[in-house]
Symmetry: C2
Subunit: 342 residues, 2 copies
């Protein structure tokens, strides 16, 4: 069991590092387009107000894996090698993600995000709220440039659901009664939805057929679920250097994720863990102890199995798509996230 | 001079009270539609997540003057007695305004807004941020229901400018170097723009001609400027009961408005005032003293004159519109806000 866990930790550690991910050539199909998205991100946070532009540019330059643009571009590439039309959408998707991150910074009191100072720590809470709002409104303007109601509809609706997911996370802190279903529902809104929408909209911009759009939306949904569970596992197992944020930050903030839910229910120290996780004080002060209990339970392995199941479901959706080389890249992404083939 | 000021304070006191305003029958033309907007506001903040729905409903029920819906409806009524089509837009405009208020609450540490507890004081900072984002995304969805890119474009662009105005206000706190131009530029973005857009979009939904849309947009802009200056005057002169928020809250937070800018420059105690306003400590602890200096200067009268000028400019735009009875109501609004005829 230990062997599997260590092996998995190494795999996932590779997984989360954006640069290593791209060095695995998963994004080779879209590297030029991703460079263009990077350029567009900078162009789209310009403002007459230099303090706002600086804060937003800081946000862009903090980097990130650009997963949402990548999924939109890869999904579009299923249908045509030329996906220039998807650049504004891909940019908008990353801006929406960035807006949620910068608002999250206000809330979490995080001082580090992706290894750099956050907008909040550099400019204060107020700037973070406004920079997030500014960047979100810009995303809507970009999406509107397609003159297609269906695109803005999907994005605005997803944005509402993301808010709901954030609130669900907030109200479920220190709630040790929550079960698997609560957790899955929460990460669905918090993460999977925007990845699903990225795939869906990439196909929609290319005017794909309804069944293909649905398949890609589902692929994105399942992959997003796998991605978030992996992310939650890494909060226990990765190093701060790999993670780009402090290890155990979920526990410290009372965010109860899948490994904890499993360990509470099935580990022999479950009751002890439950008591610790229900208390903000012990979460803050005894985080290492809590993490040790979870690491030594089967919670991490269980979460890994769930990740793998979602990755399988994602891959299964690909059968409804044309058999082009980029379809293989989408399958590789799912394998990569679930750590299956490495 | 004292007589004029007292007279003006009474007028403005009437002005700001939403209920009294409607009892002046300014909104008679659109009272039924405003009731529908009220209903739609409640309908549009529904969520599966009861805590989010409660927070958003609380926000709706806190009331407000519904000025932006009123301006959209009145502008539309210039062109047809039947303005049912404008209800979703009017609702979206109020939701955008509400989103900016709820985010403002986080920032200002206000515990009272319109005489009721704020979402923040009832549910905490995090809920305020998410409720604001949720309500804003809903507004975009509503605006999208027209399937018209120009409408969403105008709203998203205005939302970006509103953020800029909020940031300008933030960075100009305690800045006693700012002049009239800085102030006007800031309130233009913070307030006038959304009122301008309300009038503009009301006309656009009714497919008015370009010159009519422009006239209404300008009317809204000038009226919005007059409205914000009035609001800034009232922060010195009105009672907490009338204002629905603590008197002198601008001063306490270092927000320097037109009466202060005038008094710093022209009053004999200008230098003393400048020193007081530049210090967060004296703004917080010696607010009454600061308010007394400004009240006894000509700053209030000067601001009133500027309000009057903007109201005149607003009224002048009305000549480009059909001479229907609702046009008179728009003129009355401007007179009312500048306190001219009362």
């Amino acid at each position: 069991m230990d062997f599997i866990r260590i092996d998995f930790i190494i795999i996932i550690t590779f997984c989360i590092k954006g640069n290593i991910m791209t060095s695995f050539e998963l994004f080779n199909h879209i590297s030029e387009e991703l460079d263009q998205v990077e350029e567009q991100l900078i162009n789209n946070v310009q403002s007459d107000l230099s303090i706002l532009e600086n804060a937003s540019t800081h946000l862009v330059k903090a980097g990130g894996k650009r997963l949402r643009p990548a999924f939109a571009l890869l999904s579009a590439k299923i249908f045509s090698p030329s996906v220039q039309d998807v650049i504004p959408l891909a940019t908008a998707l990353e801006l929406i993600h960035m807006a949620s991150l910068v608002h999250d910074d206000v809330i979490d009191n995080s001082s580090l995000r992706r290894g750099r100072e956050t907008v909040k720590s550099a400019w204060g809470n107020r700037m973070s709220i406004y920079a997030g709002n500014f960047v979100f409104a810009r995303a809507i303007l970009l999406a509107e440039s397609y003159h297609r109601s269906d695109i803005v509809d999907v994005l605005a609706d997803a944005s509402m659901r993301i808010c709901e997911g954030e609130i669900q996370q907030m109200v479920s802190c220190y709630d040790t009664q929550q079960g698997l279903k609560d957790y899955l529902h929460r990460i669905e809104r918090k993460t999977a939805l925007l990845i699903a929408v990225s795939c869906q909209l990439g196909a929609m911009v290319m005017n794909a057929e309804t069944r293909e759009i649905t398949a890609l939306k589902r692929y994105g949904y399942y992959l997003g679920m796998a991605f978030q569970i992996t992310d939650d596992i890494l909060d226990f197992t990765a190093s701060e250097e790999v993670l780009g944020k402090p290890v155990g930050s979920d526990i410290r903030q009372g965010v109860i994720t899948l490994p904890s839910i499993y360990a509470i229910k099935f580990d022999q120290r479950g009751q002890e863990l439950k008591t610790l996780l229900a208390s903000p004080e012990s979460c803050a002060e005894r985080a290492e102890e809590i993490i040790d209990i979870i690491i030594s339970s089967d919670g991490i392995e269980y979460a890994y199995q769930v990740t793998k199941k979602y990755a399988d479901l994602a891959i299964r959706q690909l059968q409804f798509l044309p058999d082009v080389s980029v379809r293989k890249a989408l399958a590789d992404m799912a394998c990569f996230i679930s750590g299956r083939d490495f």
